[in-house]
């Protein structure tokens, strides 16, 4: 992380989003919107004085702590944030929401970096290659309510568990219930929203393993009982099966079965986890202090829209579609746009890093060419015949045709030579090079040439 922040060839544009894309492989023009941080990033030293001074300090749920910790309106996301700069949250800052605040942050900032009049900025970039790496989110599918998610304090998700376990987290690394008790029993529920036709059909792939990891941490830190309800354990990966075996030896209790519901036990304040042990064929009810849901991974919010900007489709589950499931797993159907990480499919860190290096290699290969050859089997408009009706513009799946001075014009770098415009042009004003009407008709004539000497077939 730090390396990316200080690499001389990397310009970091945080708090920013891509809003417009033009061009084609080798020549993309990209417009990026940088949201106002209300902090001058050049001046801010990351000292944290504004964070301390903020009148709204510790009154907002921290995204980084997954809602288990608090922050202020002026905050630094976490201790190793890159860039290590403060940001003022426009949704909670008193001044920005209500226009009234004593602005203690401004007074506290010796670098005079806080500027409430900062506006969003647009930055135009020219690039030859693009890597999409927008990652994932955990599902919040409505069916999760049956496991008490969002209803009971001590039903948490995997990321919340990570924050509890982290020494830098809200509890200093102590795994405790919301009311501060060390749990006697922690129950993990696998495949929540994954492999579930009502939510997400696919396997999220990482949960069996991080469930095992978290079981280990729970055992180590609480000394209590740790249960895992699973459907199938999937621990393919180097050293993974061994890790799972080790967890079984450490005393993690694996129960094969899916939990039906999690309900509170009014008598002792515990949660009752009810399900079936399908190996023993019997009903089980486990009183738990902490229930961890290993929830499905889904594509990041907004990936579909981002994909549209780059002409990259998403698959039925919303992940970016690779050009070929086996042979081109990091390419997309848009030349020059590559994929890395969980935005393409759920995967763990080793696979993410491998794919990211693959995408980088593809981008480097492209950039190192300096020049690209554009296949000449593209469409070309005969301006004399074109009536400017625009049918071809509507028909073109690649947005490669524009109207220039009232007539259609093909951008050959975007044209993939599919010929849809040729088929659609009523005036026959478009030549599909290498697939002209004449060529196709000659080919058809050839098919029937052998007659009548021989009989078909």
């Amino acid at each position: 992380m730090m390396d990316a922040g200080r690499h001389p060839n990397i310009r970091l544009l945080s708090y920013s989003e891509v809003v417009e894309v033009h061009g084609y492989v080798g020549n993309f023009q990209v417009r990026v919107k940088q949201k106002p941080r209300y902090v001058d990033i050049e001046r801010c030293t990351g000292c944290g004085a504004c964070v301390e001074a903020c009148v709204w300090k510790d009154r907002v749920y921290s995204e980084y702590e997954a809602g288990l910790g608090l922050r202020g309106a002026a905050y630094i996301p976490f201790a190793q944030a890159v860039p290590m700069k403060a940001v003022i949250d426009p949704n909670s800052c008193l001044f920005l929401t209500r226009g009234k605040c004593s602005q203690k942050c401004v007074q506290a900032c010796e670098a005079r970096a806080i500027h409430f009049d900062q506006k969003e900025e647009f930055i135009d970039l020219k690039v030859g290659a693009v890597v999409l790496a927008t990652g994932y989110e955990l599902t919040d599918h409505p069916s999760l309510a049956r496991y008490g998610y969002g209803l009971y304090d001590n039903v948490i998700d995997g990321i919340q568990f990570e924050r509890l376990s982290s020494a830098a987290g809200p509890t200093g690394g102590r795994i405790v219930t919301r009311d501060g008790r060390v749990p006697e029993t922690v129950v993990f529920l696998h495949c929540i929203g994954s492999r579930d036709e009502d939510a997400h059909e696919y396997c999220s792939r990482i949960c069996c393993m991080y469930g095992a990891k978290q079981a280990h941490l729970a055992l180590e830190k609480t000394g209590g009982r740790v249960y895992q309800f699973y459907i199938d354990m999937r621990t393919a990966g180097k050293g993974y099966e061994e890790f799972y075996k080790r967890m079984q030896h450490e005393g993690v209790r694996y129960i094969r079965g899916k939990v039906a519901e999690v309900v509170p036990d009014a008598e002792n304040g515990k949660l009752l986890v009810r399900g079936e042990d399908t190996l023993l064929g019997r009903y089980v009810e486990i009183p738990a202090d902490l229930v961890v849901l290993l929830t499905a991974i889904k594509p990041a919010e907004g990936s579909r829209e981002l994909g549209k900007l780059f002409g990259v489709a998403v698959d039925k589950d919303g992940f970016f579609a690779e050009a070929h499931p086996k042979l081109r797993p990091v390419d997309t159907t848009t030349d020059g746009v590559f994929l890395a990480g969980c935005c393409q499919s759920p995967k763990d860190i080793p696979d993410t890093v491998a794919q990211a290096s693959g995408a980088a290699a593809k981008a480097i290969v492209l950039l190192s060419k300096r020049e690209i050859e554009i296949d000449p089997t593209v469409a070309e408009v005969d301006r004399d015949k074109c009536s400017g009706c625009g049918e071809c513009i509507l028909a073109c799946p690649y947005h490669a045709i524009e109207r220039v001075e009232g007539k259609a014009q093909v951008n050959i770098a975007l044209c993939k030579g599919c010929g849809t415009c040729v088929g659609a042009c009523l005036a026959k004003a478009i030549i599909g090079h290498h697939f002209t009407d004449e060529e196709l008709i000659a080919q058809i004539e050839g098919i029937f040439e052998r007659e009548p000497e021989y009989s078909f077939p």
Partner: protein
């Protein structure tokens, strides 16, 4: 006219998209699937290339059936 009853052998022309159905026809070959030899395939880069006139023209040239597969 002669009336020797010959079995009807339809002459079918198929316009197949290079990226999907043509690749599919290749896959049928790779898997050694068998189908009737009455089909002659014309490769196009997209089934969208095939205009109605081309279909009519193919019938006129003598086809008994035309398939456009995308």
């Amino acid at each position: 006219m002669t009336t020797t009853p010959e079995p009807f052998e339809p002459r079918i022309v198929g316009f197949l998209c290079n990226w999907c159905s043509y690749a599919g026809a290749d896959a049928a070959g790779t898997s050694r699937l068998k189908y009737a030899p009455n089909l002659r395939i014309v490769r196009v880069m997209c089934s969208g290339r095939v205009s109605p006139e081309l279909v009519v023209r193919t019938f006129r040239e003598g086809a008994d059936g035309v398939m456009v597969l995308g």
